[in-house]
């Protein structure tokens, strides 16, 4: 499934963005399957907004966004859910975990939401890889932000996907943990022949990107 954006511009930011150079806003771009894309953006340029548009969480924009051949405005709730379970996964900047569920339950939720891709033991394996085994039984609400970030990453990797959207996924991780997380993400994307779109504030060398864009 390819992702395509055509002349998209967020309505609230439109006056500010018209005079700015951008690789994305008001452009036509196609992300081919399996492409690894880095989008660099300064604060306040609409990075999270763009990810939310792409995931169809917001629709206050002009232009069109396509998942495959379908404009995402035309999806029914059931079709949208189907795509979010099978084709497109996400790590939110604000993580969006259920604070009252344990770390394990937060991950398990995404594992069993659809026909499980991995056995339950995979949760533990990934947690070990990212060094959060000890907090699996803790409520997510009382985990540190760095721990929560790793929970959110593992959660996103529990499901089948063709695209992984990541919004500043390593903002609260040290270099070593970032390296481990990036390795896990690369491994999981390779397994699925999936592409990803990662947004961040600065340049980085965590992944080998096919496309580097500036928002």
């Amino acid at each position: 499934m390819q992702l395509q954006i055509q002349q998209v511009v967020p309505i609230p930011l439109k006056p500010n963005l018209l005079n700015r150079q951008s690789d994305i806003w008001l452009k036509g771009i196609t992300f081919l399957p399996g492409t690894r894309v880095k989008i660099k953006a300064a604060s306040g340029t609409g990075k999270t907004t763009f990810i939310h548009f792409l995931y169809h969480l917001r629709n206050d924009y002009e232009g069109n966004i396509f998942w495959g051949d379908t404009d995402i405005q035309n999806f029914t709730p059931a079709q949208l859910a189907q795509h979010r379970q099978q084709k497109i996964s996400i790590v939110f900047q604000d993580l969006r975990l259920f604070p009252n569920l344990t770390a394990r339950e937060n991950i398990e939720l995404k594992r069993v939401m659809q026909q499980p891709l991995y056995p339950e033991s995979t949760i533990k394996e990934m947690a070990e890889q990212l060094g959060i085994t000890k907090i699996l039984h803790q409520r997510a609400g009382i985990c540190s932000y760095g721990e929560q970030q790793r929970i959110a990453i593992i959660r996103a990797l529990m499901q089948p996907f063709e695209w992984l959207l990541m919004d500043e996924p390593f903002s609260h991780l040290d270099q070593e943990n970032t390296r481990k997380a990036a390795a896990l993400i690369t491994e999981e994307c390779n397994k699925r022949n999936a592409g990803f779109i990662l947004t961040d504030l600065d340049d980085d060398h965590y992944f080998t990107y096919h496309q580097n864009l500036v928002l």
């Binding site: 169809h56 709730p77 979010r84 569920l101 939401m113």
Partner: protein, 397 residues
């Protein structure tokens, strides 16, 4: 699937809404109890009025005639159209015309030891309206003896009043049936004498009855008066207390044995009471459904953010609906089963109690009560489903 449900259960916990849930369940239970009781009450009421064991065979036959007033003095015959109209009424099962004799007659005893003489007139009615089961109840021209049915009232009048004042012996039904009377019919050519015999007694029609065949023969041969229209009919009805029947008689200035129809006034009062209980139950049920639907909305609203996040993460509307239905519908089934059991127990106790008063109702619940329970199960399902559906759709972008 189990794991998914367990996690959802933890997310959409109703701990904070437990008191609300209990109140909603109580409201619904009370309303259902009322509505099911109202239905059962109607069924019992119907049972009491129409079941065989509660019926009185005399009361089902009413002799109807015009009210005699100064206005219709001398003109109390019932026209053919009036009789046809009566036949068409839903509360009338059958109409029998009472044919009066159109000749003068008297009866007297053959015995000089027991002298007896009285002028008399006869009436006849189709055999279907007669409650005396006797093989002797038939007559053909040439037959020696005319069978007669006498009202019990006549015999009582004789035994407890007339015989005492005249110093005559009292007579039992059996003795009367053995007596052969002399029946004299006055004809233009003199008196014709026949023999007559009482073959049975009845409470149904208060006149001396003879077989229709005899009446026809005698009227044809000896009738001196004009071919008069009938002025009385007997009707068979399932329910002499039916207010519609009483109203009809009143509207058409007809009259009948007031004792038999007096019950209709009480019936009307009971009808109103039963209807009010039904309406009250219905209104309460509406409120209960409203409460329950509001409860579901509130519960869903209280975990609105969680549902929103679930949708964001890709939970399908169908998955959520299934889970929420699973969570909210089973209490409804339990409520219905519970109230049915309570109504069944009450019904059994009431049946036992009424039995002591010689009123018989079915100790089991009526089929209508079960049908109503099923209907409300369906309504509750629809209310649950639509509330949940509406809410999930609201949470979707």
């Amino acid at each position: 699937m189990q794991a998914w449900n367990n996690i959802l259960k933890k997310i959409i916990k109703t701990a904070s809404g437990r008191i609300r849930l209990i109140l909603a369940i109580m409201g619904l239970s009370v309303a259902l109890l009322l509505i099911l009781s109202a239905v059962q009450l109607q069924a019992n009421y119907h049972d009491l009025l129409h079941s065989k064991s509660n019926q009185d065979s005399i009361a089902n036959f009413l002799v109807v005639n015009k009210q005699l007033t100064n206005a219709n003095y001398g003109n109390t015959t019932l026209s053919a159209t009036a009789i046809d109209d009566l036949k068409k009424q839903p509360f009338v099962d059958a109409v029998g015309i009472l044919t009066p004799s159109r000749f003068k007659a008297s009866i007297e005893s053959f015995s000089s030891q027991f002298p007896f003489y009285t002028d008399i007139s006869f009436e006849s009615v189709p055999a279907a309206f007669i409650d005396v089961d006797s093989t002797q109840w038939q007559w053909q021209p040439g037959n020696d003896i005319v069978p007669m049915i006498a009202p019990n009232l006549f015999l009582d009048f004789y035994n407890f009043q007339f015989s005492l004042s005249q110093n005559l012996p009292q007579l039992t039904q059996e003795i009367v049936k053995m007596i052969i009377f002399k029946v004299n019919i006055q004809t233009p050519n003199g008196v014709v004498s026949l023999k007559g015999k009482v073959v049975g007694f009845s409470d149904r029609i208060t006149s001396l009855l003879v077989p229709e065949s005899f009446m026809q023969w005698a009227n044809n041969n000896y009738g001196t008066l004009n071919n008069a229209q009938p002025s009385r009919v007997v009707i068979r009805t399932k329910d002499p207390g039916n207010p519609a029947l009483v109203q009809y008689l009143k509207d058409h200035q007809l009259t009948t044995d007031a004792d038999k129809t007096r019950f209709s006034k009480y019936r009307q009062i009971v009808n109103v009471v039963v209807q009010i209980s039904g309406v009250t139950g219905g209104i309460l049920l509406l409120f209960a459904l409203l409460i329950f639907s509001l409860f579901i909305q509130l519960t869903i609203a209280s975990c609105k953010e969680e549902i929103q996040l679930l949708v964001t993460l890709g939970a399908a509307p169908k998955q959520l609906r299934k889970f929420l239905m699973h969570r909210f519908f089973p209490p409804n089934v339990l409520i219905i089963i519970g109230t049915l059991i309570i109504v069944a127990i009450i019904q059994y106790l009431v049946a036992l109690r009424l039995q002591k008063l010689y009123m018989f109702i079915n100790p089991m619940l009526s089929i209508y009560t079960f049908a109503t329970a099923l209907l409300f199960l369906l309504i509750l399902w629809v209310v649950n489903y639509t509330t949940i559906q509406r809410y999930i759709q609201k949470e979707n972008l």
